[in-house]
């Protein structure tokens, strides 16, 4: 008998079968990986455990007792806490209020702010290394933190409940390596305290670094439950996608070299703005320029500033040597610049609208039959093309995009720019939450873009990806470029050393 047993779990969403008799068995004091391709049902499994989703059929047991969760409060009462794939923070409440939400210290219904604050501070202190600045942001409204810091708060919130079972659903997707390491230290400690951690991630490295055993889902069914020490990465991937792939080695291998000999496409000169203290760079046609460094050093801010989504206080942008006047994203789009933002739910999707409209949004103007008038046939053809190119798993392009799994949603966000035939592509963590196989497809897309002479700027929280894809990496620190690493001398150690070099100065 296992500590946590989930047997024969079924769940349908309308016509989509998310789970079809999946099982999960996990023990106290282990970090158990829940793996699978995008849309295989991992999040659904987690949500059923925490009471957010109602299973059509399931048999759940915790510690020998039948587990009845019909709403999140039940789960909390039973000691189950979760970090969901989509954040569940209230932006306007302070960090302390968020961490304490729904189990506040009170007397006669009145809050005890000091108790609430100190409880939050205690948890945050465990993650001290994950925040920028030297003070814990306990009293700051959560909405003002960077995406990575928000993710950490989300984790703090779950841990503050002192759970018996901690669910981490892609909790590392927007974390940088250093932040991940802090998290892992905490998780290992929890594990040693006898807590069960269910861990879902698409980063293979993390899984091997942290987990003991894994349950692999495929199309809502269990494809296998394995000891990780005895299973190779290739075997795991095969279980997930059901075919042989060379994923592990392929990252970046297809990106063509020698890009720097081609002409410069985009020049950024001394851009100053929020979190940017003067950044200059050049990208060549067919080049992938990586942005590296610690979390929150202005990489995302730079992409947003180039795209006109964030104000520039000074600095110039030149495309093919011609100065651009980009004050808002529509100007950038008109110049052939594409931007895949880092937060897909908030910035990348029209959740209630059909997949088709999401895919064609940025490019519909060019396809209009008469200015302003759309042809259904052309729209459909364009959408189908993107679906095929990125192998988006869907029922119908007319379904709301919110019904897709996280990874497939991310593909839609990327796909909308492929129809636009851009000159410059700005990617902010484009593979966040994408499974290994799909990542590969996306890498191929990036390779194809470079072959066509498109200039790509890539910010990624995943160092492997950055190393594998980039021709050059610019290392950021406090809103400045502090180092430039070329393909030839690009290695993990160099990157890490360079990111931390400020310590030596």
């Amino acid at each position: 008998m296992s500590f946590l047993e989930m047997r024969d779990v079924h769940k349908r969403y309308g016509g989509v079968r998310a789970l079809n008799g999946a099982d999960l068995f996990a023990e106290r004091g282990e970090v158990h990986a829940l793996l699978g391709a995008n849309g295989s049902g991992k999040s659904t499994m987690n949500k059923i455990l925490t009471g957010i989703a109602a299973p059509d059929q399931a048999e759940l047991r915790l510690d020998g007792e039948p587990l009845r969760v019909t709403r999140p409060q039940d789960a909390h009462r039973l000691g189950i806490a979760a970090v969901y794939q989509e954040l569940s923070l209230i932006p306007d409440l302070t960090v302390a209020a968020n961490v304490g939400l729904a189990f506040e210290a009170t007397t006669a219904g009145f809050l005890r702010p000091r108790a609430i604050r100190s409880r939050a501070e205690a948890v945050l202190r465990r993650f001290a290394g994950a925040f920028s600045g030297d003070r814990l942001p306990v009293d700051v409204p959560v909405g003002q933190l960077s995406p990575g810091e928000q993710q950490v708060i989300e984790i703090c919130k779950a841990i503050a409940r002192e759970p018996r079972v901690l669910v981490l659903d892609e909790a590392t997707a927007s974390l940088h390596a250093a932040q991940v390491e802090v998290l892992f230290d905490v998780v290992r400690q929890l594990r040693d305290d006898g807590i069960l951690v269910l861990f879902t991630s698409h980063r293979m490295g993390e899984i091997y670094a942290l987990c003991d055993r894994a349950t692999v889902l495929r199309n809502g069914e269990v494809a296998g439950a394995v000891q990780l020490a005895e299973t190779s990465e290739a075997q795991l991937v095969e279980m997930m996608v059901g075919r042989q792939t060379g994923v592990a080695e392929s990252t970046g291998a297809t990106i063509p070299m020698a890009a720097e000999r081609q002409p410069v496409v985009l020049q950024v000169e001394d851009v100053v703005g929020d979190r940017l203290a003067g950044v200059s760079l050049e990208v060549h046609a067919g080049e992938v320029l990586g942005l590296g460094g610690l979390a929150g050093q202005g990489q995302s801010a730079l992409l947003a500033a180039i795209f006109g989504a964030q104000r520039r206080r000074s600095g110039r942008l030149l495309l093919d040597g011609r100065e651009l006047r980009i004050r808002r994203p529509s100007h950038a789009v008109a110049e052939g610049i594409a931007f895949v933002p880092g937060n897909r739910a908030r910035e990348g999707l029209l959740p209630v609208r059909p997949i088709l409209e999401n895919l064609t949004l940025a490019s519909m103007r060019g396809r209009a039959v008469v200015p302003g008038v759309l042809s259904q046939k052309r729209e459909r053809a364009a959408a189908d093309q993107a679906v095929e190119q990125l192998r988006i798993k869907l029922g119908s392009v007319n379904d709301p995009v919110s019904t897709l799994s996280g990874g497939n949603q991310q593909k839609v966000v990327v796909g909308k720019w492929l129809l636009e035939q851009p000159r410059v592509v700005l990617l902010d963590d484009p593979t966040k939450g994408i499974d290994v196989a799909a990542k590969d497809e996306l890498y191929e897309v990036i390779a194809r873009l470079t072959e066509e002479g498109v200039a790509v700027i890539l910010n990624s929280s995943d160092d492997e990806e950055l190393l594998g894809l980039s021709h050059r990496v610019l290392v950021f620190y406090e809103g400045r470029v502090v180092d430039e690493l070329h393909r030839a001398d690009l290695s993990r150690d160099r990157l890490v050393a360079s990111s931390l070099q400020v310590v030596d100065r």
Binding site: P72, A82, S88, L93, T94, R135, A177, E181, A295
Partner: protein, 343 residues
């Protein structure tokens, strides 16, 4: 790739960063709902100053008492509306709820006595809120239309409780002391002002409760709050109940002003209450704001109309000027606030 061997970054403790942090905290403190309220206070000061200049009768005892007495029904309704709006709701029936509560109270004064009648009136307001809350929280109707629909029901009930006079019998009235007390002063300050302060005090008390914290959470992100374990439905229902109870308080202020009830009264308060809370810095999309600002917003509106009265524009220009002034106040109130949604 399993060998992630990066040291956690060392936060550098230079002096400049410290100052930066303090500035960031100060900014955060202001943006956490306080800046919009500060804006409302600035507007209040401006409106006050203009009044002093243009209105000779502004600082007379009668006028100050009038302003307070006029403001009170709207303020009570607007505080209730604010709580509902913070929870990402809205109550288009709140003015009519006040009307229903007022006619219930006034008709019961004679048979039951003042205090029991007021208790029933308050309960009537809360009960209307309960129905709204159930429709929004449990039946999950969209607040604007659900409360639009119930406003008809409350209006019908009010007409039924107190049909318009005309049949020759005397309309029920509030006791003389009730209306008189409203106009008196205590310690040199009009009782209306004391009651207004009481309203703010009530809000400050509520704001310290767990309930209101959860109202903010539900208004900020309903699904996130649900996932975190907030009893979203219960919170929503209770928000409307509390809002309805404030409408009950507004009913007392209306009765104190008028001395007797009227089934067709109060409806006008609904939409103005929303304007007041927006000026006071509460966001209509929920999750931010507060009733302190709302009360300031009510006073701003009151003083603006006082200015127009004093300036005596041609009659036919009056509504035009009123409308433009309200829009100007709304725009100014938004200028310094971080209203989200929409670029």
């Amino acid at each position: 790739m399993s060998g992630t061997q990066v040291r956690p970054p060392q936060p550098d403790a230079t002096g400049s960063s410290d100052a930066g942090d303090r500035a960031r905290d100060a900014m955060a403190w202001l943006m956490a709902g306080r800046l919009p309220t500060a804006t409302a206070f600035v507007l209040l000061a401006i409106a006050f100053a203009i009044n002093v200049v243009v209105n000779d009768n502004f600082l007379t005892a009668f006028n100050i008492r009038s302003i307070m007495a006029n403001a009170l029904p709207l303020a009570a309704v607007a505080v209730g509306q604010t709580i509902i709006v913070i929870g990402r709701g809205i109550d288009l029936s709140i003015g009519v709820t006040a009307a229903l509560a007022s006619v219930v109270t006034v008709t019961l004064v004679e048979p039951l006595g003042l205090l029991p009648a007021m208790a029933v009136g308050l309960a009537t307001g809360a009960a209307c809120g309960l129905v709204n809350g159930v429709l929004v929280g449990i039946v999950r109707l969209q607040p604007i239309v659900a409360t639009f629909a119930t406003s008809f029901v409350w209006a019908g009930l009010a007409l039924w409780v107190l049909p318009p006079a005309g049949s020759g019998e005397a309309a029920p009235r509030m006791p003389q002391g009730f209306t008189q007390g409203f106009r008196d002063t205590t310690l040199g300050i009009p009782n209306g002002a004391w009651l207004l302060l009481g309203l703010v005090g009530l809000w400050l008390l509520l704001k310290r409760t767990r309930f209101l914290r959860h109202v903010y959470a539900v208004g900020g992100d309903e699904l996130a709050a649900y996932a975190t374990g907030v009893r979203v439905v219960g919170v929503q229902v209770l928000t409307y109940v509390v809002g309805g109870a404030f409408a009950g308080l507004a009913a007392f202020a209306m009765l104190a002003n008028s001395g007797s009830g009227d089934a067709l009264s109060g409806g006008g308060l609904t939409l103005i209450s929303i304007a007041a809370l927006v000026i006071g810095g509460t966001r209509l999309s929920g999750g931010a704001g507060g009733a302190g600002g709302t009360v300031v917003g009510v006073l701003v509106l009151q003083l603006l109309s006082n200015i127009v009265v004093a300036l005596r524009p041609p009659t036919e220009m009056r509504q035009l000027i009123d409308g433009l002034l309200v829009i100007a106040a709304l725009a100014l109130a938004g200028l310094w606030s971080n209203r989200r949604g929409g670029r």
